[in-house]
Structures are given as C-alpha cells and as structure tokens.
C-alpha cells in the first residue's frame, strides 16, 4: 500500500483574518454537509471532502506501466482565518483483477486507487516525487480547482494585505502491510522519543526547488488515517517559515538604523508580525502516535529552530529601528 498526496498552501485572499463564522461559510462546498471547525489551540476549519474519479497512468521512475482506477479525496482547510490549504490524497492498492470494474466498486472504496501493471509501489513513489510525467495522475490540478473555488467565495474580499507565493508539498507514505504491534516494544519513558529508532515510522523532507517541497514517510497501516493531518501541518509550517523568511529578506535589514529605508523595512516585515507570527503551533492537531515523525523533522531540517531564528531577527530589527528612532527623537529634544 502507498498513500500519496499533495497540499497547496497560501494566504487566504482577504484583507483581515476571516472570522470563524465566515470561514465556515466559505468552506461549505457540499450542500447538506457540515464544515468541521475548532477554536483551540488555534482557529481551524475544514471543508467537507470532495471526491474525484480517476482512471489513468501512474508516474513510475522506471517508466514501467502502472494504471490506477479509483478516487482521490480533496478538502480545504483554513487556519487562523489566514492560511488556506487545499489537500488531495489517495491510497494506492493492488487491484484484484486487471479488468476495469463497474464504477460502483470504486465508489464503495472512496479515497482508494486500485493499481494494475508491473510497477511496484516504491517505483510509483519515486515516480510521483520525481520530475512530473506527462499524462499521468495529476493531484495538483484538483487542489488548484478547489483553491480557485474558495478564492471566488463571496465571503472573501480578495484584498490580501501582502502578496506571497503559494507552496506545494508532495508527499508519499509507504505503508507496512502489518499494523504496528506496540506491545512488542518495551515502554519508554516520556521525552525519550527518538523517531528514527521508533519502529517503522520515518520521515524525510526536502525543498525540491522553487515552491515545491517533497516528503517521504513510512508508517504502519493503522497510522494511515492520521497521516494527512501530519502532512497538512507540515505544509502549513513550511509555508509560514518560507513566507516569514521571504518577508525578512524583502525587509532589507542592511539599511542604516533609524533611516527612512530602515523604517520602511520594518513596515515591510510588519505583515509577518501582524498576521503570521501567532500561527506557529507545530503539531497542534497531529495525532500523538505520529509525533515521533514531527520530532524527527524538528531535528532535521529543524523547522522550529529556523522559525525561532527568524522571529528573533524580526524582533531585533524592530528593536533596533525603535532604538534608532528614539535616538533621533532624543537628539531633537536635546537640540530644542
């Protein structure tokens, strides 16, 4: 079994943080279906799931033939009234027959794509994370369409306070066929969790260039339902980090303290302070059984470490600019 998915993350196109009631309306994509939401530890709402039928070639590294028939599940989530994510996933499973079955068969297994052909799942995983291959499974397009649908919702004013790039996280989770058997392992004291050595769960994360990121996970089958939340959380925090780092770079911190350029630089990083800094809350909704995966990502590439450095840089710059401005004011008072 192989779970694959893609997550598009971007700034919600609205001038202010969207309040919870409007968020819920903006995400009501399916009539008769509830939008799920929670307020703590951070405002979060997720749309009903949209299913799309697929019957196509799957990408493989070896270019061996693999065909998939089934459905992918797409949903949208809004965090903190500020960040919009579209997330599509499916689970690839070996088909019982080479024939295309009646469509009702596939709809009875929502979110599963049945695979025929010679290619193995590792080959498909490599193909999916590699260079895009023409006329193969395109989960990115499903996210794009959902993103566009939400952007056009009347609840949003489409006047964002600043412009930043969207990022894409493409992920695969190789699933061990046997469920994890936790009793086999001796219990370990809390705080001693070492993801790499903790059973079959593993995570790797790459910046694949531009705005594309890839992640490769390995986990036991009974952890599969929680993996989407983990990847969405990963994508959210990577986007926050990318965006805040970008805003700092745009802020030109090399200007002379107290100068006009310096004040303007602080103005440019202000959106980060106003809209984004409070959203950093890694693993807030991640099932605790998958926390070792987050922890391993925290060691390398070390999201929170880099975030803390960025936040310190912003604070330092604001502090220095303030000191510079105070100096100018003090000078003015002395002269007067």
């Amino acid at each position: 079994m192989l779970a694959i998915g893609e997550i598009r993350t971007g700034l919600l196109q609205n001038s202010t943080a969207v309040p919870a009631a409007l968020t819920t309306r903006a995400l009501a994509l399916l009539p008769g279906e509830l939008v799920r939401s929670s307020e703590r530890p951070i405002a979060y709402a997720v749309s009903p799931e949209r299913l799309t039928g697929l019957d196509c070639r799957l990408p493989t590294r070896s270019r061996a033939r693999a065909r998939g028939v089934g459905t992918a599940v797409t949903r949208a989530a809004i965090t903190g009234g500020r960040v919009l994510q579209a997330s599509t996933r499916t689970v690839l499973m070996r088909a019982g027959t080479d024939r295309r079955l009646p469509w009702a068969h596939y709809l009875a297994r929502p979110g599963v794509v049945e695979v025929t052909g010679r290619a193995g799942f590792a080959d498909v995983a490599d193909g999916y994370l590699g260079v895009p291959q023409q006329s193969t499974l395109d989960l990115a397009a499903l996210n794009e369409r959902l993103f566009d649908d939400i952007v056009m919702r009347p609840e949003l004013d489409r006047r964002p306070p600043f412009r930043v790039a969207r990022t894409t996280l493409r992920w695969v989770a190789e699933v061990a066929d046997e469920p994890a058997v936790p009793v086999r392992r001796p219990p370990r004291p809390a705080g001693d969790g070492d993801g790499a050595g903790d059973g079959p769960a593993q995570a790797q994360f790459w910046l694949a260039g531009g705005t594309l990121r890839t992640a490769r996970l390995a986990l036991p089958a009974d952890h599969l339902p929680m993996v989407v939340e983990l990847c969405e959380d990963l994508a959210l925090h990577d986007w926050l980090l990318t965006t805040v780092t970008g805003l700092i770079e745009r802020g030109r911190p090399d200007a002379a303290p107290g100068s006009v350029a310096d004040t303007a630089a602080v103005q440019r990083i202000r959106p980060a302070v106003d809209h984004l800094l409070h959203l950093w809350m890694p693993a807030a909704r991640v099932d605790r059984r998958l926390l070792p995966l987050w922890e391993s990502l925290e060691r390398r590439p070390g999201f929170t470490r880099q975030w803390d450095v960025s936040v310190s840089r912003i604070r330092d710059q604001i502090a220095l600019t303030t000191v510079g401005l105070l100096g100018i004011v003090a000078e003015g008072i002395t002269r007067a």
């Binding site: 008769g32 929670s38 299913l51």
Partner: protein, 323 residues
Amino acid sequence: MTKAEMVFGEVAAQRTVASVPLSHLSIELGHLYREDLDAEDINGYGRRLGHHFKAVRPWVDALRQGFTDVRPGRAPRISTCFLVDDYFGDFSTPAQLVPALVTAADSVGLQIDYLARESGCADADGVPLAALVEARLVDDPPPDTTGTRPPARETGWLCNGQRTPASAEALSALGGWAPPTENGARNHSIFVDVELWNEQDGRRVWSCPFLAAVWQLLRLGLLRNLGEPVAVPAPLSLAELPETWAELPPVAQLTPRPAPFSAYRTASVLASRFLPVELAVRTILSQVHVDPEADQQVVRRSGAESVALPAEVVDRVSYVFLS
C-alpha cells in the same frame, strides 16, 4: 507510575451523523403515475389497483420467504411502501386515493406500511434532497482521466462512459464519427446517458429517474442533511386525509407498528415499462458517493446481524419486473 494524559476535544471538530432505524428489506409494492389513473370514477381505478396488487402478491411472498430462509427461526424485519407521483402534475386527492389504495392492497392480504410522494424526493420538508444527491455525484471517469481537467459534463446529464464528440474539430481530429463508449465495457458497449433535470418555465424540473434514485437512497437509509436524518416517516390517520398531496408528509406511515421504513436492501415490484427508468436509476446510483459514515453505520449493523450486504450501494437494490 501512571501518566495522566489530557485529551483535548471540541464538539464542533467532530463529525456526527445520526443513525436511522433499519429493516432487513424494504419492498416497494408499486409506483403510481397520473396516467395510470385517468379513469374518472374511483371504482374504475379501484379495480385496476386490485389487479395490480393481485399480480404483486406472490412476489412479495417470495421475497419474504427469501429472507426467512436466510435467517431461519427469526422473523425478518420487512416493511412495504408505495410511491405516488405528485411531482409531474397533481391528480386525484389523498382523501380519495389513499383509502382506495389501502383497500385494494388489503383485498389480496397486502399492507402498505409507508406511502411516499415523489415530490418529497425533490424537496422533503424544506430539505432539497435531489440537490443534495446531485452534489454527491462522482462521475465515472473514462480512460485517461488524470484529474488535470474537470469531468466533461453536459449540464443536467450523466452518462456511463464517453459521448460521441460533438464539435467539428473533435470529429475531424478523429477522422470522422466515433461511437459513444461505455467505461469498462465487456467487448461491446451499452452506453447510457441520463437526463437528470431540465429547466421548465425558469424552474428546475428533476427527471423521474433522478427522483427514483433519491427514493432508493432514502429507502436504503443513506441520506442525511447536516448529519441529520431526512424525510423521517410521520404517522398519518386514514380518518383525516388532506385534500392536497403537498399537505401529506414526504413519507407517511399508514400502519400502526410497521418495521422501519429504511432497510439494508430494497426490492421493487414494478411493471416492465419501468425497466428503462430503473436502468437510468442504476446508472445514477452507481455514481453517487453516499455519506461514508451513514454507509458505515448500515454496514456495521448488518454485519452485527450477520446479514450479508454488498459494499456497492447499487447492488443492494433489486427488482421484480411484471408483464
């Protein structure tokens, strides 16, 4: 040492889907259209209904026996229902027709537990059932559907494959006409294209097969609105029948303590002329993504009763077609 652990949960973050009572089998004793009842006098259609139920009776017995054989020694929960078409134009009145129906069924020893009206499948007490089902359609994808483009839809239509290309460019690219094809056809295609609705006088009118598909999903206990059951049967006294169909509940309960309206499986005993309609119904049902939680409830409960149930919703629906 035990470690205390706080579990944080918020009600709003949970998705709750109410369950509905379920029989083993829902038998539809018939489907009544206005054209079936153009006779002026009530005695005239009383006789026609009598003939209808007489023809239906042996098949109802056979369906009951089938369930008794599966679960020997235990009485199966079986409910019966009857659908009146009040959607495509009003006819007669409940005060006239319902007693005639009940009497005609009774004359051959059949009971109608639930009487439903077709317009209730479009809108049940303000819940737009047909629109909710339409929103849950997931098109059967033809080969090479990668997701890059949205499904090629003809507004208001649903098919089971690929239509003949309509544009001149597409035809010339193919070098002429190409036949429509059924997805997953075995050697030869049986291509079906179903009209779901059209516009009449600026108003959306749902097609008979689409409403019949909603009707099947209702009987299978698979429809919810915001997690709540829809078209819940309401008791109806034969002594106080209204003059218009709109005053009747979408599903009216006519007998005192019937088995639940919805069931694991449905069987409909219908005249053969309904065959094309039901082919269209099955084409639609094959492309409805029912609420997974509602479906899981049905699957779990049938499993707990050791009643075999196909995973495919459309395969829970069966028919007897009469000449």
